[in-house]
Amino acid sequence: MLTRRRVLNLLIAGMNALIAAVLAAPVLGYILTPILRKSGAGEWISIGLVEDLQGGPEPRRVDFRYKNDSGYTVETVNGYAYVVQGEDSSPRILSPNCTHMGCNVAWNDERKRFLCPCHGGQYAADGRNVAGPPPRPLDRLPSRVENGVLMIQVGSHT
């Protein structure tokens, strides 16, 4: 009696293991689709004429709309960034996402710093992290100048 019981126990374990094994690959692949599938770079959009955006030591906020491709819908999203003067007089585009936890930073005209509302991170006008928890300077967005028009690359393509 005991051995029959044991054989059946093993059989049950085996059958369920088989079901789980057959299910595992599709379920894992399906759940991990966002990680396993490559997502493309975002689109290049124009944010204005270089001569309008440059000049002056202070960062200038630019607002724009860009497209985010989720795979089955393309949504138009509002975004903004800061244009600052780079060392070689070419414009540099700073992402407003704090490098600590990703909150949106804003330029404070009185204190001449980017301030993060969440945990007190502070950045200098050129994006260097100068106070608080941020581990690195503000990220730069890919940018280029084409026929006097400043273009940046934002969003992602799934």
């Binding site: 126990n9 059958m15 088989l18 795979g71 138009t76």
Partner: protein, 584 residues
């Protein structure tokens, strides 16, 4: 059995739970319980598969008319193993219905619904209704033609009940018609309400099964007491149940793989389109019988019989089986009347389903023949009219008379500027291409459907009705409207004649999409917002001269238009128009 208190009550909650689970699994079974008793276990297993695959589908599914179909397409085509997961959900649902039928038949034949297990039967029947509810609500979610028209008919059946019907119809749909308000409602019922009811029902059902034990085969009601319990459920019956689950699982995987490879036709049909008149609604197969009742009974009270009285009575009778059947015998041989009635009911359901299927197939065949005939007729008729042109002036005069008769002037002006977003027809012949106008007049709603559905309020709410014009009437109106030209306002652009140089098209594309971002207000394919007119097929619709004029100076054509004057140089306008005319 062992006396009480041999095992002390376990101390920790986990141990208490394990002891309870063991006690549940150790259920002692009477003799002659075996392979015939595996179907309940298979049902539980399939429900678990439904819960798992349903959760997975919900990860990517989005219940709105604008995204439901697209998200299911995404699951089907782009999510890794998405087609397989979706196929499993669908086929597991089908297997559930079949297994439910077998399970009910088994319980009926074994007389297991009799006292003391009457409420086990009732709870099982309620579970059946819940599962059918899942089928009904889930059918709509992919939002393809099949889903749309199947649910159109299904909700109408509910709506034809006397008295409360119209209210039920509006409630089910969330509004007067199937659409944006229906999808989230069906989704919420499918993934929140019904699963909760299902869990309650399953727990109740299992609780009763465990409480009363499995019916000892063929023992008369009231004589169960002395029957020995020969073996525990685990692992003896559990192994049989498990083997049946494995078989069902392998069958399911095979069906899902076949489904995702298109053996049963395309896994996802065309997107729902309420204006499609060439589609025969087909409910899921287990509702075919119910739908067929509508064909059997005549209009009027017969329809009420078919949609309300008969299904309602069937449910009540099913629930009442244990209370109506007072015969204490369980052996089928001593229950000839019950057996005969049961067989008659089963046969009726099967025959109705088969008849429903045949009827739908017949309707589909007839439709295909009609479509083929219409196509052939159109082809043979097209040739002679071209070879024998009618008098142009007659056509124009006929069109003008029709314009009056149909009261087109109620919305459209024939001399002034556009009003309230409705195009003026003062220079329609300069504005649109003749070929497009012909198609549009024939079926206006179809072309505007997308835009109107997506952004009501931003585009005019009124839309061009379908006047069901005959071919001759379309010719007349087209001739009349094409004659309305204004070469002063929209001068011909000789530079736009002839074929374009590809570089010009490329420059134009850049102007439209990048430099001036026309898609900020216009839609082009999947791109842009439908604030202004949709430019996706502008090459089919707009005449190049008109496109030139409106881009060059929009306010000249309509002083109140919100279109920006981009102040383009003439050769830039030419490039942009060259590009736009490629959008077909």
């Amino acid at each position: 059995m062992a006396p009480l208190a041999v095992e002390p009550t376990p101390k920790t909650p986990l141990k208490r739970f394990l002891a309870l689970a063991r006690e549940f699994l150790d259920e002692p079974l009477p003799p002659r319980v075996g392979w015939t008793h595996v179907f309940g276990g298979v049902l539980l297993f399939l429900l678990a598969i439904q819960a798992l695959t349903g959760f997975l589908l919900a990860l990517y599914y989005s219940p709105s008319t604008a995204t439901a179909y697209e998200s299911v397409k995404y699951i089907q085509e782009r999510a890794i193993f998405g087609g397989l997961i979706r196929g499993m959900h669908r086929w597991s649902a089908n297997l559930l219905i079949v297994t439910l039928g077998i399970h009910i038949a088994r319980v009926f034949i074994w007389g297991a619904y009799k006292a003391p297990r009457r409420w086990t039967w009732v709870s099982g029947c309620l579970l059946l209704l819940i599962v059918l509810g899942f089928g009904f609500t889930g059918y709509l979610l992919p939002w393809d033609l099949k889903a749309y028209f199947g649910t159109e008919v299904g909700t109408h059946i509910a709506g034809s009940a006397p008295g409360v019907g119209p209210m039920a119809l509006t409630w089910l749909r969330g509004g007067s018609q199937l659409g944006q308000l229906t999808l989230p409602r069906f989704y919420a019922i499918h993934v929140l309400l019904l699963p909760a009811l299902l869990v309650i029902g399953v727990v109740w059902h299992l609780w009763q099964i465990r409480g009363h034990g499995i019916t000892p085969p063929w023992v008369r009601v009231g004589e169960e007491r002395g029957i020995p319990r020969v073996q525990p459920f685990f692992p003896f019956q559990a192994a049989r149940d498990n083997a049946a689950m494995l078989a069902a699982f392998l069958l399911l995987i095979a069906l899902a793989v076949m489904e995702s490879r298109g053996y049963f036709g395309p896994p996802l049909g065309e997107k729902a389109d309420p204006s499609n008149a060439d589609y025969i609604p087909r409910p899921d197969w287990y509702f075919l019988g119910l739908q067929h009742l509508l064909r059997i009974f005549p209009a009027g009270f017969g329809q009420v019989l078919a949609t309300t009285v008969i299904p309602g009575l069937a449910v009540v009778l099913l629930l009442a089986v244990p209370f109506l059947d007072r015969n204490p015998e369980r052996s089928p041989r001593r229950r000839p009347v019950a057996m005969a009635l049961g067989a008659a009911v089963a046969l009726t359901v099967i025959l109705l389903t088969l008849a429903g299927d045949r009827a739908v197939r017949r309707e589909e065949r007839a439709l295909n023949q009609r479509l083929a005939a219409a196509k052939a007729k159109a082809e043979t008729q097209a040739a002679p009219t071209e070879s024998a042109p009618r008098d142009e002036a007659d056509l124009i005069a006929g069109g003008e008379a029709l314009f009056e008769q149909l009261k087109c002037g109620l919305c459209h002006s024939l001399d002034g500027p556009p009003q309230g977003g409705v195009p003026t027809l003062a220079w329609e012949g300069s504005r649109v291409r003749e070929a497009w106008l012909r198609v549009y007049l024939k079926n206006p709603t179809r072309i505007h459907w997308e835009t109107n559905l997506k952004r009501q309020g931003e585009r005019p709410r009124l839309r061009m009705p379908n006047f069901e014009l005959s071919d001759n009437e379309v010719d007349q109106l087209t001739a009349f409207l094409t004659s309305k030209q204004d070469p002063q306002l929209i001068p011909p652009q000789p530079e736009l004649e002839g074929s374009a140089d590809p570089a010009a098209i490329e420059r134009g594309e850049k102007l439209v999409h990048e430099t001036h971002r026309c898609t900020a207000c216009h839609r082009i394919g999947d791109d842009g917002t439908p604030f202004g007119p949709d430019l996706t097929h502008i090459g089919l619709r707009g005449r190049p001269d008109f496109l030139y004029a409106i881009i060059h100076n929009p306010q000249r054509l309509d002083s109140r238009t919100k279109m920006k004057n981009l102040r383009l140089a003439p050769d830039e306008v030419i490039d942009a128009v060259r590009y736009l005319t490629t959008l077909k």
